[in-house]
């Protein structure tokens, strides 16, 4: 065959292959939820947490016959796709889920950055998207109408911590802040600085470290030199594990050591052993909460029990928030009585419910209204909630 003809046929064939992938599914009695997840790449760990939680919710919902849509029960299908922690892929997959797979609703992946991307796509198509792990205001200030997040804004956490710690330990006067140069940790560091200053503390150190830092010794040595009473570090699990360990090696300590969000995850405690003791943190949820709710789980206890039985480890706020996001969607569908996207969107905006994860009520920007977020401390290898009073199980202990 002539060379050029072969080439044009090849390119045509290539194109037709792309065209031929998966014709849209026709089943009408199923509610389809698209879930772009980071199953590989830098956020793979976190993506799996969401996946596990979604699966738990799905099982219960379908076991009950599905979601009640205006009198008819419709089963739910979750279409999970790996976007490899790649921003362009996230956008691509969100589009694909909407246009090819014809999903009715979307979930957002872990992290503020990629949530923004997915939300942008959803907004263009008018598809409601449930964000379970995005808490930075900058994600929700774009004027998106179809984005709803179950995590409360970052600012609330640092305010509560500053107020409480200063009250319980009035000798704490100086704080050192070290943040990771990345969407969420940077935001947490900024919020802490603002809250600390409002609480009358002196910020003696305030720097960031780049993504990919293998050694915190220099920054920590400088922190030591400024003799703070409170050391606050933000980052992802591996950064925090490393930092805490190096602090211990270099004999750097302070009465209060706070890390966001390390101690909220089991792997932090496992990786550090006894050195993890005394570290405080704040989270959006703790499994010892005593919420009772009218959702597929019924209570925090129920969720906790099932999770532990299935996964042999404690659930963290990512798991809970992810499941709660889908519960909220379910409730909105039930209330709207239809899966019409615009109507469900309106029902979501008017949400005011109690779930096993806690109360969910969205503010005008789509974020779950700030409420009393748990402050925890690792004591003897276990995560102990200190605040708010309803779930308090221990008191703040100064680190010797």
């Amino acid at each position: 065959m002539r060379f050029s003809k072969m080439m044009s046929l090849l390119s045509l064939a290539g194109f037709l292959t792309i065209l031929a992938t998966k014709p849209a599914m026709a089943a009408d009695d199923v509610i389809r939820i698209g879930a772009p997840l980071a199953l590989t790449g830098a956020l793979a760990d976190e993506g799996k947490k969401q996946q596990v939680a979604y699966a738990m919710w799905l099982k219960r919902v379908n076991a009950a016959g599905g979601i009640n849509v205006g009198g008819k029960k419709m089963k739910v299908e979750i279409i999970a796709v790996d976007y490899q922690t790649d921003e362009k892929r996230a956008q691509q997959i969100a589009e694909k889920l909407i246009t090819q797979d014809k999903v009715d609703f979307l979930t957002a992946p872990f992290g503020s950055g990629h949530t923004k991307v997915v939300a942008g796509v959803a907004e263009r198509y008018g598809v409601p998207v449930m964000a379970s792990v995005a808490s930075s205001e900058s994600v929700f200030n774009q004027g998106y109408k179809f984005l709803f997040g179950t995590l409360s804004p970052n600012g609330g956490i640092t305010e509560n911590m500053a107020k409480m710690f200063v009250k319980v330990m009035p000798n704490v006067k100086k704080i050192a802040i070290l943040g990771r140069e990345d969407v969420f940790p940077k935001s947490m560091a900024n919020e802490m600085k603002a809250s600390a200053e409002r609480a009358g503390l002196q910020v003696v150190y305030n720097e960031t470290y780049p993504v990919g830092m293998l050694d915190h010794a220099t920054a920590l040595s400088k922190i030591k030199a400024s003799s703070p009473d409170w050391i606050y570090i933000s980052g992802y699990t591996q950064d925090l594990v490393l930092a805490r360990k190096q602090m211990s090696d270099l004999k750097i300590t302070a009465p209060i050591i706070t890390m966001i969000t390390g101690p909220s995850y089991q792997e932090f405690i496992t990786a550090l052993g006894p050195v993890a003791d005394g570290v405080t943190s704040a989270s959006w949820w703790h499994h010892s909460a005593l919420y009772k709710s009218n959702d597929v789980f019924g209570s925090t206890q129920e969720f906790y029990k099932e999770f532990v039985a299935q996964n042999k480890s404690d659930p963290d706020y990512v798991n809970a928030s992810a499941a709660a996001a889908l519960i909220t969607l379910q409730k909105a569908i039930e209330k709207a009585g239809t899966i019409d996207k615009a109507k469900v969107r309106d029902a979501l905006a008017a949400t005011d419910i109690m779930t096993f994860y806690g109360p969910i009520k969205f503010g005008p920007n789509g974020m779950n209204q700030g409420r009393e977020l748990p402050i925890v401390q690792v004591q003897k290898g276990k995560v102990v909630p200190l605040f708010p009073d309803v779930i308090k199980q221990g008191s703040l202990q100064a680190i010797k």
Binding site: Y209, P210, A217, Q238, A271
Partner: protein
């Protein structure tokens, strides 16, 4: 003053680790003329194997030092003979891309089998103090081991037949061939040694850092920098380069803040590439 000594000490300990990361990479680049993009992942592989040996089988990591590196030696030997040898003569674009492709496969495999959760061996090695300068036990141990093993490698290269053959090939491949040195075997052994040192580094890292596939690219980047600074293909070069990089990062982090520590190292590397690509100890070699 004391603070500066601490900064310097931190830098040296970090540097020893960097040297260990880079020595295998440097050998392969210098002798085989190949930029091995898999190096970072090989280190992580060593780290994961060590961790799982410790976690599931309760084997002390120091014992793993005797198991993991030989395993990686074999792995490297086979890999080189079967795959890399075929592209030895090709230009850097082909070889780099090939090792990049192989790296993707290895990386994916590790993610699927081991998962990306950061893992660390939680053994307490304590901490030592010299007049207020603190030396964490595990880093000290890692540094000592890094020096020791690199030293052994150097000695082996200088005295053993295969070691001297490697050096000969590095200096002049054709002359070495004419002298009867089996080039392909030398290549395979060099690559295997590189993989073995990556394994050693992996064991050491499992003890000092949380190990996760996410940082494999980072480690590779450090290896690049060390090679450029110290010079290619020689063990002393990797040592000097590693220590230099460690010190630079530590000092610049101290002066200009942690966010610029890594940047300084990279900028320095570019400057050296432009002015003295052979590095501090290197001889004019491969371009």
């Amino acid at each position: 003053m004391q603070a500066y000594i601490q900064v310097l000490t931190n830098g040296l300990m970090l540097g020893a680790l960097y040297a260990c990361i880079a020595v295998g990479f440097s050998l392969v680049w210098g002798v085989l003329n190949i930029i091995n993009m898999m190096h970072g992942s090989l280190i992580i592989l060593g780290g994961y194997l060590t961790f799982f040996g410790w976690f599931h089988l309760k084997i002390n990591p120091l014992i793993m030092l005797l198991i993991v590196p030989p395993f990686l030696f074999l792995f490297g030997y086979v890999l080189q003979y079967v795959m890399i040898n075929r592209v030895i003569a090709r230009p850097v674009l082909a070889t780099l891309t090939l090792t990049f492709g192989l790296d993707m496969i290895l990386y994916n495999f590790m993610n699927v089998v081991f998962e990306a959760t950061p893992r660390r061996i939680t053994m307490d090695f304590g901490s030592f103090s010299f007049y207020d300068v603190v030396l964490p036990g595990d880093r000290l141990l890692a540094m000592v081991l890094a020096f020791a093993l690199t030293g052994i490698l150097y000695w082996v290269m200088r005295t053993s037949r295969i070691g001297r053959a490697i050096v000969a090939v590095r200096m002049d491949k054709d002359a070495a061939a004419l002298m009867g040195i089996p080039i392909n075997r030398v290549y395979a052994v060099t690559f295997a040694i590189s993989a073995m040192m990556a394994g050693v580094c992996g064991v050491l890292m499992a003890v000092t850092f949380p190990v996760t596939t996410n940082i494999s690219g980072l480690l590779l980047g450090k290896a690049f920098a060390v090679c450029v600074i110290g010079g290619l293909g020689s063990v002393p070069g990797a040592l000097v380069g590693g220590l230099a990089l460690g010190l630079i990062e530590s000092l610049s982090g101290n002066w200009w803040g942690p966010q610029n520590a890594v940047l300084t190292g990279s900028v320095l590397m570019i400057i050296l590439l432009m002015t003295r690509p052979t590095g501090l100890l290197g001889k004019a070699g491969y371009e």
